[in-house]
């Protein structure tokens, strides 16, 4: 079945806990710039406190983060099959390999992003809907993208041609503040290697679910689960920017959260094997409020450069590129 947005039905008793978003990452290897555009919906779409949160964050090497969040009432959001728009942020995805494409447009604070491009990789496969807090969490990851467009950030104008791209879709029912979280990461190699990892966790990240790692290389996809995956972290980084400002002011105690300075993902199934090591350059913190009741969650976006070494389909692989790891809870 083709993917689509999943707004709650009028008679859905869990609609107050509705969450859904579309997400696009860009990895420009020429400049080292990593960006993300996300448009998310939080809460019963018909309830006044429910929110549409647009995010545009761009990290330019040597210039730090640009952009921020744009928080509006959920009524400001417009939705299509796999398109979301609110205010100055819009994300659209048509994920099907061959004819697939994605586009992201956002102008938030000092970041202005306009990107689009076709799917250039095979279907990645990950799509699941798992128990999550008092509800469930769905996730679909789309094929690797080649993005063209313009990114304005840190007072610079960057013309992007064929940059690495990633897009996904999340949906479900839970409350920010539930004892849940996740680890997610996307590593995009300059030569086309794509590694996507994810796992659910408790809020403190002490209890983790089975990890799923998808590796795409030379048109071939391999997946690793559970004991085939080892994720380790080392060192300490702190967020350099926090958004939105009102939530950052309310949760001043989270200003110095400790995030890893290095993330290592090792996978192996006896045939394929790969080790990815990301050295984190910078961390941005996003604070999300639960609109239906008191509660919040903190998402950290850690970006940096990675190197990967291993053996895929019987051939040695050595790659480097840009990556982002998301730590949520």
């Amino acid at each position: 079945m083709l993917d689509h947005l999943r707004p709650p039905r009028a008679d859905d008793p869990t609609r107050a806990l509705y969450k859904e978003w579309l997400h696009v990452n860009v990895f420009d290897h020429a400049s080292g710039t990593v960006g993300l555009v996300n448009l998310s919906l939080h809460g019963d779409p018909a309830a006044a406190p429910s929110r549409a949160v647009g995010v545009a964050l761009v990290r330019v090497p040597g210039a730090g983060w640009s952009g921020g969040t744009q928080v509006q009432g959920a009524a400001a959001a417009h939705a299509g099959v796999l398109e979301l728009a609110a205010g100055d942020v819009a994300v659209a995805v048509a994920p099907w390999f061959g004819a697939g494409h994605a586009a992201a447009r956002a102008a938030v604070a000092d970041a202005d992003v306009s990107l689009g491009g076709p799917a250039v990789g095979p279907p990645l496969g990950p799509s699941w809907d798992v128990p999550f807090g008092e509800g469930h969490l769905g996730w679909a990851a789309y094929p690797r993208l080649a993005l063209d467009g313009v990114v304005r950030a840190a007072g610079r104008r960057l013309v992007v041609r064929g940059a690495g791209g990633y897009a996904d879709h999340n949906w479900g029912r839970w409350a920010w503040g539930d004892d849940v979280g996740w680890d997610w990461g996307c590593f995009h190699g300059a030569d086309g290697l794509l590694v996507v990892m994810s796992r659910t966790t408790d809020r403190a990240h002490r209890v983790t679910g089975d990890a799923l790692v998808t590796v795409e290389h030379a048109g071939r996809v391999a997946q690793f689960v559970g004991p085939q995956v080892d994720i380790a972290v080392d060192g300490v980084r702190h967020p350099s920017r926090r958004f939105p400002g009102a939530m950052a002011a309310l949760h001043a105690d989270r200003a110095r959260d400790r995030l890893p300075a290095r993330v290592r993902v090792r996978v192996g199934d006896g045939f394929d094997g790969l080790e990815v090591v990301l050295d984190v350059d910078d961390v941005a913190q996003l604070l999300l409020a639960e609109p239906s009741r008191p509660g919040f969650a903190v998402l950290h976006e850690s970006v940096g450069r990675f190197r990967a070494v291993g053996r895929l389909a019987g051939r040695p692989v050595e790659a480097h590129g840009l990556g982002v790891v998301e730590h949520a809870g």
């Binding site: 921020g68 926090r242 400002g245 009102a246 950052a248 309310l250 001043a252 239906s292």
Partner: protein, 177 residues
């Protein structure tokens, strides 16, 4: 650019929106404020704020901070905080936010702000007031303010090195010498 309400009207609007959106939060705010009164400054405006014996908000214009507890900031700083361009901690360290009083008085004033901020996450009326202030002042542009180191000079370098080695420094090493 829309007209600014003025400080007294901002205070009345914020408390009114809180009472409408979150009666429990409003009651908590009254409990924290108890019978205290404080003066609030915003740019060149000053008001005295408190609740009377019946729990009704009292706001009156005054000339300055006076001798009791007080807090002050500026519209520009408030908008910068809302735009995530400056951390509250840094605004305090640079003197862009001042809160003066006994420990209990300062704690009460900060708690009142936190109650309003917490309620604002689920109160469109309070969010609309924030949008109104930003529209009146003008959305800030350019990069955010740099973090402010806060370790006092009298902390010896050896002590800082030890704390850093143990991973106990809250500030980045570059900010601590």
């Amino acid at each position: 650019m829309p007209a600014d309400r003025g400080l007294a009207a901002w205070v009345r609007a914020i408390v009114g929106a809180l009472e409408a959106a979150d009666p429990v939060g409003a009651a908590t705010l009254r409990g924290v404020a108890a019978r205290r009164s404080a003066r609030i400054g915003l740019d060149d405006e000053w008001v005295a704020v408190g609740f009377d014996d019946h729990g009704a908000l009292r706001v009156r214009r005054v000339d300055g901070p006076g001798t009791g507890p007080w807090g002050r900031s500026s519209r520009g700083t408030v908008v910068d905080v809302l735009a995530a361009r400056v951390e509250v901690r840094d605004a305090v360290l640079t003197g862009d936010v001042e809160v003066v009083g006994t420990v209990a008085e300062v704690a009460a004033m900060i708690a009142v702000i936190e109650i309003v901020l917490d309620a604002a996450m689920r109160a469109p009326a309070l969010q609309a007031l924030a949008d109104e202030l930003v529209a009146a002042v003008g959305a800030p542009t350019g990069p955010g303010r740099a973090p402010v180191p806060w370790y006092p000079d009298e902390i010896a370098p050896a002590e800082l090195r030890l704390l850093r080695a143990l991973g106990l420094l809250a500030d980045p090493p570059a900010a601590t010498g």
